[in-house]
Every structure is written in structure tokens, then in C-alpha cells.
């Protein structure tokens, strides 16, 4: 069992495997997105309180969930890399980060657009949005640290330590921001609380979340293939690749 796992830990073996998986995940993402959007835009009814604006949740909530999920997965691969010294784990973490940051950015943007018509301000410093903003800073920190260190091995390991410190802190940060928010609020309003859900709304959200998940996997696999080529550029197996020979 160990042998099989470590074989896939080699970039050379993983590269073609990832190449085969990408179309699968992209197709799943596209199909799920189509279904989810159909439910969200055409089947789900108008909300009693929020009218049509609530339909933003079909983008906002999946993006927010993915932003947090990707960070945890990224931290997981960092931990594996530090513990087992496998290069590919670090590459996978590095591949996940930009997609995670993108999901965070989408969550922040859509959350702001949802907040303005519903509660009157573009940015309301509520607990979830503020935590999401800090999560974006954590992603940016990870990518900045990695970019600032020239030696790839040191960059991988330093960023990995940072990611682990971040993942431990995220619950503490969320709890603190929640406290801060309830303390300073006049009216108790939860900016991004979803309306009490009709079943179709929930389904739409879940399917879009799955679509986002499939997409994230595909994007990360695409990115990791480029990272592998960049890092292994001197290797013979890279030189033998049809896509390289055909250049």
C-alpha cells in the first residue's frame, strides 16, 4: 500500500495522471454548474423578504465554503510535505492557493453586492465577511512568502509552516471576530445569513458548491502540472513529453 502511494508522490508519475483527470473534473464542474444555475435562476422561487437579490447566494455561499475548504486542504498538503518530505505535496499546496484566493475574492465581492441592497452598506464589518477578508490576507501572505524566497525548497517549507500556523489560527480569528461583531453592533443583524430556505434554494446552493469543488480540483490540477514542468524542467522525462517535443 505504501509503495503505491509513494509512486504517485513522484511528479513524473502524477503529471500524466493529473492530465487525465482534468477533463473529467471540468466536465463535472460544467454540468453541475448548469444544473445548479438552472435551479437557482429558474426553479427556486422569489424570496418573501429579499426578493430576487437573494439569488446571489448561489455564487456567494459556494465561493465562501470553497475558500475555507481549499485553505484546509492546502494546509493538509503542507503538513504532509513537512512530515514526509514529498515535493509533490508542496507543489499541490502551491497550486491550490491562487484558486483559494480567487474563491475568497468572489465571496467578498458577491457578499458586498448582496449587502448593499439588503442592508444599505457596501461593507458592514460583520463577522463572516470580516473573517473572509482576513482569510484573503492569509492566502496573500502564503503566496507572497513563497514568491519572496528564491530557493524553491526553502520557499515550499517556509510557506508550509505559515499555512499551518494560519490554519490553527483561523478558528481563533473567526471566534474573535464574531465576538467583536456582536459586541459592537447596535441592531443584531447578520449580514450574510441566508434567508430561511425553500428546499429548491438549498439544492441550488449545494449543487453549485459541488460545481465549485470540481472546478477547484480541475484548476489546481492544471496549475500543478505547470509547476511540475517548471520545477522538473531539466529532467529527461520532461524532454520526452510529446507536448514539449512538438514545440
Amino acid at each position: 500500500m505504501n509503495q503505491r502511494i509513494f509512486r504517485f508522490a513522484s511528479p513524473q508519475t502524477f503529471y500524466p495522471l493529473a492530465g487525465q483527470m482534468i477533463p473529467l473534473f471540468m466536465t463535472l464542474a460544467a454540468v453541475l454548474c448548469a444544473v445548479g444555475l438552472y435551479i437557482g435562476l429558474f426553479v427556486a422561487p422569489t424570496d418573501f423578504q429579499q426578493g430576487e437579490v437573494y439569488r446571489i447566494i448561489f455564487i456567494h455561499v459556494p465561493a465562501a465554503w470553497m475558500s475555507m475548504f481549499i485553505y484546509v486542504v492546502m494546509a493538509f498538503w503542507c503538513a504532509v510535505g513537512l512530515a514526509m518530505n514529498t515535493r509533490l505535496s508542496f507543489m499541490m499546496a502551491l497550486a491550490l492557493a491562487p484558486t483559494g484566493a480567487l474563491m475568497t475574492a468572489v465571496a467578498l465581492w458577491t457578499g458586498s453586492l448582496w449587502g448593499k441592497p439588503t442592508w444599505g452598506t457596501w461593507w458592514a464589518w460583520d463577522a463572516r465577511m470580516t473573517s473572509e477578508l482576513i482569510l484573503l490576507f492569509l492566502y496573500i501572505g502564503f503566496l507572497s512568502l513563497h514568491a519572496a524566497i528564491d530557493d524553491p525548497r526553502r520557499a515550499d517549507r517556509a510557506a508550509a509552516v505559515l499555512a499551518l500556523v494560519g490554519v490553527v489560527n483561523i478558528p481563533i480569528i473567526y471566534f474573535s471576530v464574531k465576538w467583536w461583531n456582536t459586541l459592537h453592533q447596535g441592531a443584531s443583524v447578520s449580514i450574510t445569513r441566508a434567508p430561511s430556505m425553500a428546499r429548491t434554494m438549498l439544492w441550488g446552493m449545494l449543487i453549485m458548491a459541488l460545481a465549485a469543488w470540481m472546478y477547484s480540483i480541475a484548476a489546481a490540477l492544471m496549475r500543478v502540472r505547470s509547476i511540475i514542468l517548471e520545477r522538473e524542467n531539466a529532467a529527461e522525462w520532461v524532454a520526452q513529453l510529446p507536448e514539449v517535443k512538438g514545440q
Binding site: 437579490v53 446571489i56 480567487l102 496549475r223 505547470s226 514542468l229 524542467n233 514545440q247
Partner: protein
């Protein structure tokens, strides 16, 4: 089906800016990510191909 007409659908109860603004930006960011990924791969493959040809020319 909740919409009476296409115009209703696009109007989103008067909140078109917010709803479509959200969907459009999300789509744009994802498209940008995919384009950037494709560009990165292309540049990389071209660079690898060039350096291989130079190696063969030198030898």
C-alpha cells in the same frame, strides 16, 4: 418557473445590477484564471521546446 418573461428575468426585481454584477464578476474571474493557466502552460512549453532545440543544436 418563476419568470413571466425574459425581461423580468433580466430585471431581477429591479436588482439587476447586484445579481448580474455578482454572476458576471464570478464568471469573469474564473475565465481569467483559466486563461492565465492556459497562458502559463503555453509559455512554459514554448520555453522548454526552445531550450531543448538549443541543447540539440549545441551538441
Amino acid at each position: 418557473m418563476t419568470w413571466g418573461s425574459a425581461a423580468e428575468f433580466l430585471a431581477m426585481g429591479g436588482r439587476a445590477f447586484f445579481v448580474w454584477g455578482s454572476y458576471a464578476v464570478a464568471a469573469a474571474l474564473i475565465a481569467a484564471e483559466l486563461l492565465l493557466l492556459r497562458g502559463r502552460r503555453r509559455t512554459l512549453l514554448a520555453r522548454l521546446g526552445r531550450s531543448l532545440r538549443h541543447k540539440h543544436d549545441d551538441s
